[in-house]
Amino acid sequence: MDIVTVLKTAVAAPIIGVFLIPIANKISVKARNACAVALGLVTFAACASLLSPMMKGLTATYSVDFPLGFDFVLSADLLSVFMAAIFSFVSVIILVYSLDYISRYENQTEYYAMIALFLGSMMGLVFSANLLWLYIFWEITAIAGWRLAGFFRSDRDVAKANKMLLVAVFGGLCMLIGILMIYSDKGTLDLRFLKGEIIPPAAAALLLAGIFAKSATLPFSAWLSDAAAAPAGVGALLAVVLVNAGVYAYARIFGAVFATPAGFSCLTLVPAGLSALVAAGAALIEKDIKRILAYSAVSQTGFIFLGLASGNKTAFIGGLLYILMHSMAAGALFLCAGIIEQKTHTRDIARLGGLFKTMPVTAAAFALASLSVMGIPPFGGFFSKFLVFKGAMQNANPLVLTLFFCGALLTFLYLARLFYLVFLGEEKVQNPKEGSALMLAGVLAPALIGLALGALIYYPCVYADLLAARLGVNLE
């Protein structure tokens, strides 16, 4: 099939799904579930099949003219396909996991429709080659995230979801002001024509504020730990996919298009380093398992920024690999937490313990994913962390590096503590059961893939290397 058609399919399939899912629900619940998973699979297949044409150096572009230079341009290149493949894969895992997990609650149709909308707008976001459309999809992900985070309808949950949307829209508006500055400065928002241009410092700072609000980096990190109270599938979707939307925007805007002003790297790295350290500290003392994992995601995102912003090729490759490894591991961790919560009816780690005996598969998946996040060889997480630090040592400020080293140490500590308190020690919960087959498949798959990626690190490395060489700007 023509790669432009594949590109259009990747964006259109989930968006059409938003309307198909409620219709399928009228037929039967099974039809709706099948429809949701099928749409996820189609999207993933489309994105994955674009990987190899991109490595051959092909590009695919589809555009519709809009007035005032707001053209709707979809463009596939190495970076967008890489991110789209990761996002759609994680979404498929979450959809499969949700089939069982979510079947006990109300508003299921809305849940699936919103996941489809979320996935569709995510695809739109990564493939947009026009900053305005990037912003539009950016806001649609926020709306879908808002409905998903407000899945439970108690006052507290709705208030948390509203808080999340307000933070996201605030970030989005900052970004929009930055985009308008670029528009009045350069006269176009088409990223294909802006490559290598120097961005005004104020616009760069505003875009960065928007990115940090999305990626839950300090000082905008509070929404993620609140939103973690939503169902586990949503937690995983927000912590892995939504947060990485911010990371993608950084990689796209500052890594692949604009030349950044001097000192910009420092402006990124200081908040990122602080959030890596502070969130890790928070994860060490927090008692709610989902909040711990949310803090962990905030902390790990800091490391991704370290890789992308250090301004050298090794670190940039490390950052890209980090996105891949962290998505797999964090997805598995969140989904494990969902199984634990559902089977024991508590999220408080002080009231959990000794689950290893009754939930061995969950424990194994949790352990594998934790080891990857800690960065223990031969897991995938080791290589990415190693490359990020290796590259960053050449450029970054020693103080900033110290922040990150401490953060990495704390990562080890909080994950070890979490695993010990939940799975080892004395049994405190009455009759916990292992999760169902579908849910276990949902946690094992990403955990094992994390291990497999470590063994086959050569292939993602080659891809990331090509990506950095062809698209990277601001790299030594």
Binding site: V64, D65, F66, P67, L68, Y135, I136, E139, I140, I143, G150, R153, S154, D155, V158, A159, N162, L165, L166, V169, F170, L173, L176, I177, L180, Y183, S184
Partner: protein, 478 residues
Amino acid sequence: MTSDTGLLAYLLIPLFTAVLLPFVARRRPGFSASLANVTLLAGLLNIGYALLNPASLAASFADIKEDGFSLLMIFLIYLVALAVTFFSAWYLEGRPNRAAYYSLILTSVSAMCGAVTTGDFFTLYIFVEALALTCAALITADDSAAGLEGALKYFLLTWPASLLILFGIAFLLLTAGTLSFENLKAIIASGRPAGAVVFAVSLILLGFLVKSGVVPFHAWLPDAYQGACAPVSAYLAAVVTNISGVYAVIRIAMLLRLFEIKSYHTSGLLMFAGMLSIMVGALAALRQKEFKRMLAFSSISQTGYIALAAGLGTPLAILGAVFHLVNHAVFNTVLFLNSAGLEKAAGAGDMRRLGGMEHAMPWTSWTSIIALMSAAGIPPLAGFWSKLIIILALWDGGAKVYAVPALLFSLVTLAYLLAMQKKIFFGKATEASAASREARPALLVPVAALSVLIIALGAFFPYVFSYLLETIAARILL
């Protein structure tokens, strides 16, 4: 058919039906609703066809010197009026005096059509006053004392505006000797001293600002909306205030632009009042407990965006103002009609007594989510594009000081609308809401149709934009 009679038909036919209604409906009271709906639907289809076929538009309305602005406004008037009468047909079923109610609506439609098609200030004034009278009578259609109170407030608080307009017109006649837009343009173009003319036009502008409820002249608006019965308040908020105030403000802003530097202060003050409205309206809406009052303050805030853009006066800004006017009318109709449906279903407009309505009323909940997202300027809905054009125009026009807060205040808009959605539709069901059921399908039709319109105007933005550009902005350039 000549052009004048072509446009006059939109004015005369509803007036004719309005006169006919009380006689026809004497025997069968239910017939009045159908007749009003059919009249408005026919008008809407007619104007809709004319708008969608610009070629036939140019042929049959060759004499329209101005632009497509008037035609767009006629379309809007018919659209909202039809939504309201269709809704009322079921909402007011069984009430007495229905024939009078529909007569008044049709009369006000014809008054509004007169106001938007006229080419001089005096006729505009006459039609706007006729509109004010019919609307005061409409507000009393709510049988309770609140209706009478609202009507009196509406009339007494807006009559100083009429006085200002009348003074302005007198002064204009003294200084310029003409009241027609075309002649005024010619006078300005001839380069005669314009100070006195600017003053007279400013007086008229001030009057219309009071009528559009821009801060600091907004005191009458929440009371009037709250006092009226639900569909009437939708009608007032969505189209009457827009036509009797905001439309004229945009028209005058188009004129003011021609004065260039001489009208600098007037334009500056208009922008300032617009910004003030955005801020005061949004902040006051945050504190409201009553659904309709909150929506009233929200309208004040949205009107602020239009006034801000009109004050800037560049073609792009005027285009944005007109587009936002259309969007404002559409999402306001949806929100107000939903509030009416809620009131009918749960018997309460107080947000503290409602909760968890989404299960009982899923359609009402989703349509109001769409409308509020459009109001808050969330892409890709229609409201996003109009706000974006306004902000872009402000930025390009050198008014960055206004552009940034105007943008950030859409966050406040989102905040109060989310709080509303949370209190009314999400959360636990209260006593009042547990017993309620979804409004009848017939009541949902106008709301659902307008929600589709919100999405469509956003999705087909390129067409909307080029249409507005050709019919409105291109003509302002002179």
